[in-house]
Symmetry: C5
Subunit: 276 residues, 5 copies
Amino acid sequence: MIQRIVLTGAALFLFFLAGNVMGETSLVMNIKSAGIVVVGTLLTGFLAFPVTTFKGALENLLILFRQTGQDHRPLIEQMEALALIRRKHGDKVLESEGAKIEHPFLRKGMELVVDRYDRYEIRNIMEREFEMYFSRKDSEVGLLTTLTRVAPAFGFVGTLIGLINVLGNMGDPAKIGQGMAIALLTTFYGLLLSNFVFQPLARKLSESIKAEVLLLNIIMDATMDISEQTNSRAVSHRLYSLLGEKKSNNRGDEKPQTSPGGLSIRPLLQRFIPGK
Amino acid sequence: MIQRIVLTGAALFLFFLAGNVMGETSLVMNIKSAGIVVVGTLLTGFLAFPVTTFKGALENLLILFRQTGQDHRPLIEQMEALALIRRKHGDKVLESEGAKIEHPFLRKGMELVVDRYDRYEIRNIMEREFEMYFSRKDSEVGLLTTLTRVAPAFGFVGTLIGLINVLGNMGDPAKIGQGMAIALLTTFYGLLLSNFVFQPLARKLSESIKAEVLLLNIIMDATMDISEQTNSRAVSHRLYSLLGEKKSNNRGDEKPQTSPGGLSIRPLLQRFIPGK
Amino acid sequence: MIQRIVLTGAALFLFFLAGNVMGETSLVMNIKSAGIVVVGTLLTGFLAFPVTTFKGALENLLILFRQTGQDHRPLIEQMEALALIRRKHGDKVLESEGAKIEHPFLRKGMELVVDRYDRYEIRNIMEREFEMYFSRKDSEVGLLTTLTRVAPAFGFVGTLIGLINVLGNMGDPAKIGQGMAIALLTTFYGLLLSNFVFQPLARKLSESIKAEVLLLNIIMDATMDISEQTNSRAVSHRLYSLLGEKKSNNRGDEKPQTSPGGLSIRPLLQRFIPGK
Amino acid sequence: MIQRIVLTGAALFLFFLAGNVMGETSLVMNIKSAGIVVVGTLLTGFLAFPVTTFKGALENLLILFRQTGQDHRPLIEQMEALALIRRKHGDKVLESEGAKIEHPFLRKGMELVVDRYDRYEIRNIMEREFEMYFSRKDSEVGLLTTLTRVAPAFGFVGTLIGLINVLGNMGDPAKIGQGMAIALLTTFYGLLLSNFVFQPLARKLSESIKAEVLLLNIIMDATMDISEQTNSRAVSHRLYSLLGEKKSNNRGDEKPQTSPGGLSIRPLLQRFIPGK
Amino acid sequence: MIQRIVLTGAALFLFFLAGNVMGETSLVMNIKSAGIVVVGTLLTGFLAFPVTTFKGALENLLILFRQTGQDHRPLIEQMEALALIRRKHGDKVLESEGAKIEHPFLRKGMELVVDRYDRYEIRNIMEREFEMYFSRKDSEVGLLTTLTRVAPAFGFVGTLIGLINVLGNMGDPAKIGQGMAIALLTTFYGLLLSNFVFQPLARKLSESIKAEVLLLNIIMDATMDISEQTNSRAVSHRLYSLLGEKKSNNRGDEKPQTSPGGLSIRPLLQRFIPGK
């Protein structure tokens, strides 16, 4: 909701700024100026990064802007339920339930538990996978940061082209205005593209990664605890502290608020959700 | 007190600078220029960060500017008292006293002690919670840093709009002055906003986080020591070294200067307090 | 394929930009301007870094742009096969098979296994070698970063030379244009060289290093596992998680899809390959 | 000595630069320009940091500029003497001698030894205290870095005020010169303040911290060794390697060159002293 | 050899650039401009760093530019020989041979071995000494980085002085050219000094430190191995992997290619040497 207001506001503000500029310059020149900046910036990005990094960044950003909010509570209840399932029903049931899990790293964790890896091996395998996962994410942020840095440079390159053309036709005052316009227009679009598009996108992506690091660590901790069947109080405590609240009256026993056999995912109070 | 003098001085200085500029430019143009910078900068912030990060940063800054000073001594005496309570009166009394603690992490720590988690588990649980807590704080500093970086860029964007308009109306000298004015005004407000507002706010917040990291580590150490009931000399020593002074004549026994049953919070000499 | 499209597009864009500038400036001046920037930048690089670093960076970049994609699957199947060979046929056969391995660090790892170093020694020796290897790679990225930073500075140095010459001949308007042209041309080429050439090259190289760090860690893990002949499930799991897929129906036994005696390197589905 | 020559040279250079500028601008304008920069920069500092950080930075810098050189040898001989005292005369004498020590962390260390904390506890307590100590120092460097970064921005703010006033009075050529002068004067003083004052001060402070980290680590090592009464050869070796020389003919026994009962602090050859 | 070509080329390029500028400006003005930048930059350096850091940086850079190449092979053979000496001839001979070693840290390491420190103590003592050594080196790089950053600022300060003088004498067109010339000349020399002198020097020094870190780690590893007389295969392997080659036909026994009693330092194939 707020997400949409912000995006609409940003679009209106962009139109307002462009409108202020349009008055004195033709639409064609505006498109040409913006084109030089966009093409140069994206080409630099494609020179430096493989296409898969572009795709990954785009997909992640679409998800980030589409999602109404991130509620980790269902996931946490799922982990509690899985701990109970293993203790009450054994690995057989855990395997069939685990295959239904949506979150890829939690599903993988349950596979490791069912395959009876010990605590140390689980940490080792999961950490290597996290490394690979976040290395990809990190490249995507790196791409957006590179675009942020390169866009104003191409804006200034366009400005220089315009200035050089102006200087070569000093005699014709009409062309001076036109040349200066395209010169400044490219810097204008370079700065906007960098600060109003790539900079917030890079930040948004890196913020979501920061949150994901915390979540995946929780999942790894829970997986190790489930594999050992000990310290179930600790895992419950840790899981609920993620939600910033105390599991009210049943601290010390892990009976989840779900039916023991299935994994209930209750829609929950939304006040905890960021970006909503 | 000094806090207030500084804020008043900053406001006066701001008016002095704006006054120097106002002489040659209309109020409307000043408001429009400042508006472009403020709206563009904040919109970028909202594009990059969820609303909760804005709220969190605002709340923390209000607390930082309102508080007359940070006195950790009551908290430290509280920890000493809690150690004594546990040894003399046992977990039952500790639980009821612990529920009265205001500081959320110390209260959580006492819950862990009462629930008889061992040293390793306490460290593990508290560290994950600190991580989550400081991850949120870190995002708030990141927001202010982003605003600091983006504000001058929007100032320059406004300047470019002004310049482009000037170049399109070279014939009319009256408009040149006006266009140049709004051009330079936006850069002026962009620089002021960045360096005089967001930069010190970002610094103030990150400094307070640095201090909080130290405090939370002390609380974690004390919680672990209380849970073990050993090394009480060490915890006392560590606690008092935080205050930069030696616990005068009763080193080696932890009798606190408080009535054994309750948690006294004495108002203390204020010379140690920063920002006062 | 996409690699080639991007390179062609970048070349065309460069010609388009240069063409826009050429109209008003002579080819000689363009060559002189680009020359000042290129010579100054490269000389700075040669002052700061040994020739071997230049060679290394060049070789690595040529490999990066020539390769159609990086498929780690043959390497991973090779490691699985090596684990099987050791268990089934012993160190004698492993030694002769190991000598045929192309990847230098995997070959070295197998030498260490045959020489019966223990897990700790293998980690110790391989980590020192990785350090030395990545220290060299790191210098190569440092070289490209230095060039990225220095190129615009030399562009501006050329601009200053032009401006000083213009200011010394204020009377001759013809020379003003010429002087200003060379002035702006060097900045133009400095910015292009920095942002369109060195910046993406530096990024491309550092991205490839990031991927290599992950791969070499996998190789080290596998070598340690092979040396111990235990945890073969873990190594298999780890190896296949690199490919982002589960080894379908034979989890838990390591029978590779290769003839047991030799090391088959099957051409594989290409969808996993970046930059393709 | 050299310290004084450098300071005198810096002052003369500053007067030379200011003199070059004074010729064309009035003293009042120079003071006003410098005033805007100094007031704006300091106000920003006071907004971001508590007054105690200012005081701390000032005190430390005064000490750094007053001290004729840092000779760690007396401190090291003191530590050697303390090790001998403990072994020969026991904790009673160590306590009374320890109370006379000037260096606060070494005195604290001896208290910990007398109180019979073990190696682990000593490390734990001292590291927390170092953390708190260096956190304060770090804030002081952060203050100076902030001032370094903000000063040129306020210089440019002043320049913008001047330019806006000039543009509003285009008709009056006399005022153009004056406006431009104050404009450029503030940038001039902003750059000088940043690069000639705050930048070297920030560096000097951070360098002194780096040296202090090493020294405090030596003190912590020595304290731990004294507490264990073993490895006295190692502590002696470590202590003398700090001085970059070998303890000539009595390696392996710790007889210090001091009278056993007291702590002699000999004035020593000064060639090792930095900043002299 | 290449070193000399690069230095000559850099000098010629510098003269070419200066020559391009000289045409329109007098030699006196060039010297004055360069003087302002050099004096201001160096004074800032002397304000921030002690004289010993200047001396150290200068000495290290002279060594770096004089040396024809860095061949670590003699050192590595020396370490192999020392391992053999200790095992075959005992500590007595090792002591007398060790005293002849030129490399200070290897000599110190052998002293520690002869003094019969254990593995842990050797690591502890040597790491502290490395810390102190690299802390000094780090300051030297910090000095050069500071000079790199400050030089363009003083260039711009000089430019401002020139501009202010021009603005104060608008009536006299002859003085405008002169003023602008000195203005731009200082920026010109500031940029050259920063990017063409201090930047590559800082990089060269930090690169040499990076290589030294690796070498000193090898020396520390070897010293620890020699002290234990075990794992001699590992030390030999590690040593030769530094050279990027396999010790051909005598893997598994450490017979060095030297006469057992002395330390042969053979001149070796030079292809491995950087900067040659």
